[in-house]
Subunit: 437 residues, 2 copies
């Protein structure tokens, strides 16, 4: 057997320790697959004395990351330090030293992937990032290789475990957002500053990457329309459930004749769809492709070992490609770099989707006529309209409306007009509704 490939690691935190533990525990299994061993020879850590969750015997520990990226014995650098500034600098240094790179850093790829891949191409090295999206689910590989025959039409994913845990608890147990968020923080699912998760930024990083490998477009994080889950209230979760829907936080990328939709927001999904039943911290991505039709990929979206699983799978891929000429490797973004598409990204106003609306009105004759007249004027066709029972304490009655697919700009115009009506007592709640067919 060939000698083991030496790997240098930047960061031995949760994911780094997970990857190291897997490489140690499954060393035989991995060598049986890859045809040679893979071992971490050097790791950069901030605190050299800190206790680690993995066995560090055989590793040189250093506090100097440049030692890792320039180590002549190291063939592959694992970037697991997080953040974007230092990570970018070190990844580019590693590439300049002719190292291949494996990273789990979604923000790094979403923001700087175009630059990183260009540099890697110039230097003839590979940069792999399966762990950056949906933890251990091999979704990048599925899109980039498994579905290579297809024109991808759209994809939709539950790609933030923290947000999905919160929505699942709200939906299944009728709990409040704030209470569940506190529990998620206690359980370690959510950070002390949970804004990246609950405001959708984390999902937008991942969607940026998914869209690029699905459609062969450059990474365009700044063009993703991003809404979080902080506006979702228990009452909408309950009404959605009554109507046969569950609310999930989705990342959606869709190719239309006029451009690409890139959007992250909560959405009602029919309960009968598998993805509506992806609960807790699990992730799933549905892909609609022209030849295959719909396929779905489900698994743990975070955690030391699930993410480590994706990191080590990338290592095995890179080890196999060490002797491949760069032109014959799978391109970083699935499509040859000179064949990326410049299809424009649509603004949210240009998106077509269905909607759930909750409108609070005074219980007077003619209210429904006023509301439906405005919808008709904006060419919005209504699928269902349900007047709920009046809350004894409230002066107003909630009306729930489900619409057919319509242009978002029309919808906003209608809502503005309806909110002007005297009988409408508060701001209208609007949640998109996706049938995912």
């Amino acid at each position: 057997m060939l000698e083991a490939v030496k790997v240098g690691v930047l960061g031995l935190g949760t994911v780094g320790s997970g990857a190291a533990s897997i490489l140690q525990r499954n060393a035989d299994e991995i060598a049986r697959r890859a045809g040679r061993g893979i071992c971490i020879s050097i790791a950069c850590v901030r605190d050299l004395k800190k206790q680690r969750d993995c066995d560090i015997a055989g590793m040189t520990l250093t506090a100097d990351p440049e030692k890792v990226v320039s180590d002549p014995d190291v063939k592959i650098v694992l970037e697991l330090m997080g953040g974007t500034d230092d990570a970018l600098k070190l990844v580019l240094m590693a590439i300049d030293h002719g190292k291949h790179v494996v990273t789990a850093n979604k923000a790094l790829i979403a923001f700087h992937g175009n630059e990183i891949f260009q540099r890697a191409q110039d230097k003839g090295v590979a940069v792999a990032f399966e762990a950056a999206v949906a933890g251990g689910i091999p979704i990048i590989k599925a899109l980039r290789e498994g579905l290579a025959a297809n024109a991808i039409l759209w994809l939709a994913g539950v790609i933030n475990g923290t947000g999905n845990f919160i929505l699942t608890e709200m939906c299944d147990k009728g709990r409040d957002f704030d209470e569940v968020l506190k529990e998620a923080q206690r359980l370690g699912y959510a950070e002390a500053d949970p804004s990246f998760d609950i405001q959708g930024t984390d999902a937008a990083h991942k969607l940026t990457i998914l869209a690029s490998v699905a459609f062969g477009v450059p990474l365009q994080f700044e063009k993703v329309h991003t809404e979080g889950i902080t506006g979702i209230s228990g009452i909408d979760v309950a009404y959605a459930s009554e109507l046969g829907y569950r609310i999930k936080h989705l990342g959606i990328a869709r190719r239309t004749d006029s451009g690409l939709e890139l959007r992250v927001h909560p959405a009602l999904i029919p309960c009968s769809r598998l993805i509506a039943n992806v609960d807790g911290v699990m992730n799933a991505v549905i892909v609609k492709a022209d030849a295959l039709g719909q396929s779905l990929y489900y698994g743990p979206g975070a955690g030391a070992e699930p993410t480590g699983s994706a990191v080590v799978a990338d290592l095995v891929d890179v080890v196999r490609a060490l002797t491949t000429d760069p032109e014959n490797r799978v391109p970083h973004l699935a499509f040859q770099p000179d064949s990326l598409s410049d299809i424009p990204v649509l603004s949210i106003d240009e998106v077509y989707t269905a909607y759930y609306l909750r409108i609070h009105v005074l219980d007077r004759p003619g209210v429904l006529a006023d509301v439906t007249r405005i919808f008709a004027a904006h060419k919005i066709s209504i699928e269902a309209i349900i007047q709920k029972e009046q809350d004894a304490r409230a002066a107003s009655v909630p009306i729930i409306i489900l619409t057919h697919r319509v242009n978002e700009k029309n919808m906003k115009g209608a809502i503005a007009e309806i909110e002007e009506l005297d009988v409408v007592t508060s701001r209208i709640t609007l949640i998109r509704l996706e049938t995912l067919i």
Copy 2:
């Protein structure tokens, strides 16, 4: 761009036409991914004059398969003719001519894969077979590459669309097996001779392949314990549903300390599991892996374009690997050929699982005591025991029993003894119950 790679096809039936249509329709998309075009230059068909479901312009049609496998311009041979004898002969000839091979033929791989892969290794060519299992779902790639970091613990799949269609209709609509089978035949889901599907042979072919790439064992079709769905009656589907379970036809491969379980049979699955809700002709495979945990892969398990999607994805992979030295390609069975495991396959008597039993007894005092005494004597622990209402027309009462996990041999011993009891009026119905945790 490099010149297009020429492919020779054996068989332009459903899957062949599907693959050809995809290669034509998505030619640009595929070239943008692969870095070069892929085109079918020659195809062997039985009837040269038959109308085809794909555009045959640019293809030489021949009735002589040897012309395809020996064509000097052809780099890759697509074997889509089905059957095992001629297919084996032609695939080996293609390999001997230095051609790479892509096949959708599960029976061929399950029966002759070991020989084919050995020959391919000797000749330094690749044989790809993603389309042989679960249609267009990239499950072979997921197991072989996406989960390469993991020791796979078990996998369980709904991998026969016809059988799943029948069970879904029985479960959702209370329809009879025979009636649904006839409809499946009318819809083209089931063959005129449906025995391969309903007796589990097709699923056993696929399970054989899945187990090999999951555990790195040789293909051992003859060791798969195979039961079909012909013994499932509407009454058991209904009782299972009342108890919160759905009956699915599963292929299960599990690594235990004493050996490998390889079994295809119907099973009760808790309704809350995603795979219990995989309906109609769709397929899904759950994989439990040591680092990743559970992941699931779902999609269309059959059909011209879904299967063609997997065939063409394999073509793209092979095209990319044309210049790779053979030692660095992904091994055919995921593990290096000299590192396959000789872990023994367990007989069904050695398997541990839970059970659902339906026992018809005379409604007399002491019956339950007799039955439970026998279970206790065979070390079988009971999870639930439910006496159903007596059928007015019948002299007997059905008792439904759910057991905890137990060795199958013990269970058979207990059943034989219980069937000897005077109060037991008919053969006991036994269906395995899988919690898939």
